[in-house]
Symmetry: C2
Subunit: 176 residues, 2 copies
Amino acid sequence: MTPDPALLETTRCLCLASRRAARTITREFDQALRPHGLRATQFTLLAALHLAGPKSIGELAELLSADRTTLTRNLAVAEQHDWVVLRAAPGDARSRIAAIKHRGTRALAAALPAWRETQRGLGEKIGAPAAASLRKLAGGPCTAAPSSSKPERIPRKRLSKSRAAIRHQTNHPVNR
Amino acid sequence: MTPDPALLETTRCLCLASRRAARTITREFDQALRPHGLRATQFTLLAALHLAGPKSIGELAELLSADRTTLTRNLAVAEQHDWVVLRAAPGDARSRIAAIKHRGTRALAAALPAWRETQRGLGEKIGAPAAASLRKLAGGPCTAAPSSSKPERIPRKRLSKSRAAIRHQTNHPVNR
DNA sequence: TACATGTACGTGTATCTACACTTATCTACG
DNA sequence: CGTAGATAAGTGTAGATACACGTACATGTA
């Protein structure tokens, strides 16, 4: 099987690059925040809520450039930790407003030094230009990225294998 | 609740920036690859296997700067799609070698034009300097990022609430 | 050779991410 | 007022990510 030379260009994939960078950076922050009981995602969520004040789920999703349903799940986690509270919007029964709670603020404050140190170290390691570039890529400080128009939904091809529990069954001799 | 001004700096969080960028970019690639039945992660995985040839799970994890157990799961998905095959290493019964299969190569080839177009468009949109910076951040083309020393494992704080099925129970009036 | 140690990997659990679909509510217009 | 269309959100499903822990195998040393 001769590797297609045309595939060489895939080593420059920007998606891979962004994901690798995010994985590596996230691991570092998660490590640093671990003693304080929250991860990077939850830290970000709490910080955003603290700074921006109570926000609906949709607003929060746009603020963080995440899918709305992702925010629903992430907020559920924060709610279980008693970091945030979700209540119906006064004027619109469809909307739910998320607000940070006392415990959330406390967790945030406790984790802040570790975050700051990690942020400082990483900024130093990658250099100011790379940091600036990364922020620019993300769409500025907590500013919604330009989502422009909704792309047409193309259904994803699925396995015929039904949704039969992803058993990850293996034939590995180990652990059998 | 007055927002702590000290938290303003968290809007410059490099972790948030990298994750936001990765989310946005991944969505774009996933959209483009959807008609071909694979996502960015699987595309990357197949491309890496095609270019690098058969590789053990550990090697692959390092190559892609991902956790080894993550690769185990991702490879299981690829295996279910019949894109790759996993077999025991000849010299070492502990190790499993992943190799791309015919169907994997075909899927890769079919998706390549869409990938290329997305890559081109994104590169144009963010500009060459940002693209270069992103690749540098990721650690170069499929070169393992410097993992240096293993950090000490600090156990994560957990909810006392046991692992009681993440029911995401809500008291939202909607959908009841 | 027997055993201590290290290595490669799988599994359980939790979280993060997003698409497809559905429900409830709101708004505009007749 | 009534209803069609728009809007906000929840749920089912699937995949991506990684930590904690356990198992099987390899290797070096007494």
